[in-house]
Amino acid sequence: MTKITDLGVVETLDGLNKKDFSSEEVVKEYLKIIESDTKLNAYIHFNKEKSLSEAKKSDQRRSNNNSLPLEGLPIAIKDIFCVEGEKTSACSKMLENFIPDYESTVSSKLWKSGGIYIGKTSMDEFAMGSSNETSYFGTVTNPWSTDDNALVPGGSSGGSASAVAAKMAPVALGTDTGGSIRQPASFCGTVGIKPTYGRCSRWGIIAFASSLDQAGPITRSVKDSAIILQNMAGFDSMDSTSANVNVPDFVNACSKSIKGMKIGIPKEYRLDSLSNDVQRVWESGIKWLKDAGAEIMDVSLPHTKYALPTYYIVAPAEASANLSRYDGVKYGHRSENIKDLEDMYSQTRAEGFGDEVKRRILIGTYVLSAGYYDAYYLRAQKVRTKIVEDFNLVFNKCDAILTPTTPTGAFKIGEKNIDPVTMYMNDVFTVPASLAGLPAMSIPSGLDFKGCPLGLQLIGKGFDEETIFSIGSIIEESANFKYINYED
């Protein structure tokens, strides 16, 4: 018999609509497995009373025939979204006990659509990491791990991807700055989309790099992501970078034909370091799209090789300023043994931030400093413009771009956290779309030789998520990816 927790977004909503089960029952099932989990550490916080009481209210609305679009659906939230009354820490000691009394725009929209808060998922501290190993609340494990091979879930939305893959939530929210939705989605064998920059409001999301951060869903199907994004997106006057554009029908886009569409294959992504498995899955993807009637074309994005260094200048620069507010003065951690003001700042920040966060604050401070600004930050901005231009040129000729999401599948816990540069290399395929603000989605498309999932990435034109939902649905159908049956 299918368990309630095996169901995705579409199926759960379907079951609720058909009254196969109540929201309360659904929420109870999820809470049970969240509570009993001992291995994954995907959730760091949940609130049974709140979730159950919201579920009851939802059931009440349903019985009154006042159902909302996501009525009764449990949704896990990355710990970077401020959720009113719930601890929101960005998995940092700095904000360990911070409880906002306001709600992020995106989560607020989901609750207003009938979604039920089911818990907070772990992440790399302040979203800085590609393995979820920098979380103050401990490492998260990829459900695809075996007893002798403990794998990272990817990061920074590792808790969200792990939870969705392990069927501990039908959907989890993530944020993506340089690949933080797509890379863990790929590692955990889930679907994850980073929408166009400006599509979703950033209000109430703890900032990492403001010009790059975007919220998006992680799910086990393309259509599930479409439904959730539909309910998250939209203009918000509280976010000056939010785009005042219409939100099209993403769900409808999932069933559109891709016949005649032009798909670009960028030659710069054919790295020597690409594993054979990734190469093979990419070739399969190309074939599937060709079979569905799309036209495949080779394209060139010549500045791709500069994307990673550009990203690792721009993102830390913005982060170094964004994280200045954590100074021990107003809220959050404050060191106890302090001599004076200067000491309060340095002790508080030394104790409150982890190594990776400190590293990025240092890098960001350095690249903005007098004498280095022109050589680093300014030049990076110029390169960023070149990268945008690369995409503009290519999108004159094609409708979407297909690449692997990551150069390899999930790696072992502890394998890459010694050398930051090795870790940063994980983001090589995801950062270009981030720098250009373009929508990009990872769809699970195959397995590597160890039996770990590999994702393919679709990059679309700005504010054209519809096309990548259409193409993504074809990849999904063709790949026929078997989601893991994770048992604790």
């Binding site: 906002p100 306001y102 992020s104 300023a321």
Partner: protein
């Protein structure tokens, strides 16, 4: 032409080079990037939003009202308004700065170069260049006197919009600097972009000053921070110029420093040197898109720009026939000018100007009241003048009536009537009185008629005395002349 003040040192003559940075609090209902109120004197932390307190996940949204005020001010400074400007983050740690950075404009300010004409003491004018005007957030306030061990933070001011107006180094002495500061204050008050109250801190001034021997290159400058009155600024500049001259003449070098002026001791002291200066790591704020202002919007505010002090002064001279001095005094403050215009309407403007400047402003000064707080409003003062003009009271009596109006209230007419101050202009009535005086003082009449014409004044005095001072002196003169001829 007026020569700027030069200072005489031990080794020769020195001149000053002065530039001012003025921080003007923008007159608008909410903060630069949040909806919080901006009222002065509210209880601590009662006007603080999540944005102002830099709570996690909060984002700034530009207040277009503040932008409009900056556009207006830019026009009033004859400056170029930029279609695109950029907000930057200025990074530094301080407890009154919740974000850990101030949102300001660094490379691309909203307003570019412009100029103002300032009025010097001797009636001459001087054109002072404006380098730029940009918008930025104010910081909060630290309070060290509220707790024995702790310093407290009040964030009411955090995020309040400021216009920083930077002059060119065009001023050559403290008189010019004072004239510039007064002129700018007058301009922002005229257009309503700032209330200009230096004692409440809504207008603050930093002065950059260096000294040099005439004709030489600019010397090393020091910046004097946060001066809150015109007088203090002028004194601070004077003190600082002497300090720098002394250092150089003693064989030393002026260090580039930020200094604080102490008005009590009348001295400046070092806050930090160039080496200790912050590296603010300015970069464009990624939370805010570049600020685009359409040419239509710029033009709209140019059209709507009210009359400025210089224009008003010229108009007062031509329209009301006032002297430069009177027009200048009346237009320095828009409220004074407005008051004058209400009173002068369909009255003798020169008389009104003179009366207001001498008597009315004199009274305000005496009791240290501003014109808004004056118990005698413009329409009431006008009524008083009407009584002078239609002969109901004499100019002499008017001063007493005004004093009564000012201190005890009431309209001019009420006071005149209740105190019986109405001037007697009735010829028959006065003639009867004068006849009686002539009849009663035969001896004096004979002396007068005998050639002692000085006695005429004595008869006037007697008549005034018998009417309690309310006789119309002009009429009395006429009657006396007629009757005393015999």
């Amino acid at each position: 032409m007026r020569e700027p003040i030069k200072l005489q040192g031990e080794t020769g003559t020195w001149e000053m080079v002065i530039g001012l940075e003025i921080h003007a609090q923008v007159n608008c209902n909410s903060k630069l990037f949040s909806g919080s109120a901006t009222d002065f004197g509210a209880s601590p932390n009662s006007q603080v939003s999540y944005v102002d307190a830099a709570m996690p996940g909060m984002l700034p949204v530009i207040n277009s009202e503040a932008v409009n005020q900056a556009i207006k001010t830019g026009h009033a400074l004859n400056a170029k308004i930029n279609n695109v400007s950029i907000f930057d983050r200025k990074n530094y740690f301080y407890p009154d700065l919740p974000q850990g950075y101030q949102i300001s404009q660094f490379k691309s300010p909203i307003v570019g170069e412009g100029w103002v004409v300032v009025d010097l003491e001797n009636g001459e004018t001087k054109k002072i260049g404006i380098e730029r005007l940009h918008l930025e957030q104010d910081a909060g306030k630290l309070m060290h006197d509220q707790h024995p061990k702790l310093s407290l933070v009040d964030l009411n001011r955090s995020g309040i919009p400021l216009m920083e107006i930077v002059s060119m180094p065009d001023m050559r002495d403290w008189e010019e600097a004072g004239a510039y500061l007064r002129k700018l204050r007058s301009i922002v008050r005229y257009i309503g972009s700032c209330d200009g109250n230096m004692d409440e801190g809504s207008l603050r001034c930093d002065a950059n000053i260096s000294v040099r021997r005439p004709g030489e290159e600019f010397g090393t400058r020091c910046e004097l921070k946060n001066i809150n009155s015109v007088k203090y600024m002028m004194k601070a500049v004077e003190y600082e110029a002497h300090r720098q001259i002394e250092i150089i003449e003693d064989g030393g070098k002026v260090l580039q420093q930020t200094r604080l002026y102490d008005p009590v001791k009348n001295e400046t002291r070092s806050m930090r040197s160039k080496e200790e200066a912050h590296d603010y790591r300015y970069f464009p704020d990624p939370d805010l898109l570049p600020l685009h202002i359409s040419s239509e919007r710029i033009e709209k505010y140019r059209q709507e720009l009210p009359e400025l002090p210089d224009q008003k002064r010229e108009r007062f001279q031509s329209e009301y026939g006032l002297s430069f001095y009177d027009a200048d005094v009346l237009t320095a403050d828009k409220k004074h000018a407005d008051f004058f215009e209400v009173v002068a309407k369909s009255r003798d403007a020169k008389f009104v100007a003179n009366w207001i400047i001498t008597n009315f402003f004199g009274m305000l000064n005496e009791v240290e009241k501003s014109i808004e707080d004056s118990p005698v409003k413009a329409d009431k003062l006008g009524e008083l003048f009407d009584l002078i003009q239609d002969g109901t009271i004499s100019g002499r009596t008017a001063k007493d009536v005004f004093e009564e109006m000012f201190t005890k209230g009431g309209s001019a007419l009420e006071i005149v009537e209740s105190k019986g101050l109405k001037q007697i202009s009735n010829t028959d009535e006065l003639e009867a009185m004068v006849k009686k005086i002539i009849d009663d003082n035969e001896e004096q009449v004979n002396k007068y008629r005998g050639g002692n014409e000085k006695l005429f004044g004595w008869f006037v005095g007697q008549t005034m005395k018998s009417t309690g001072g309310t006789a119309n002196p002009k009429v009395v003169n006429e009657i006396l002349s007629k009757l005393l001829k015999g």
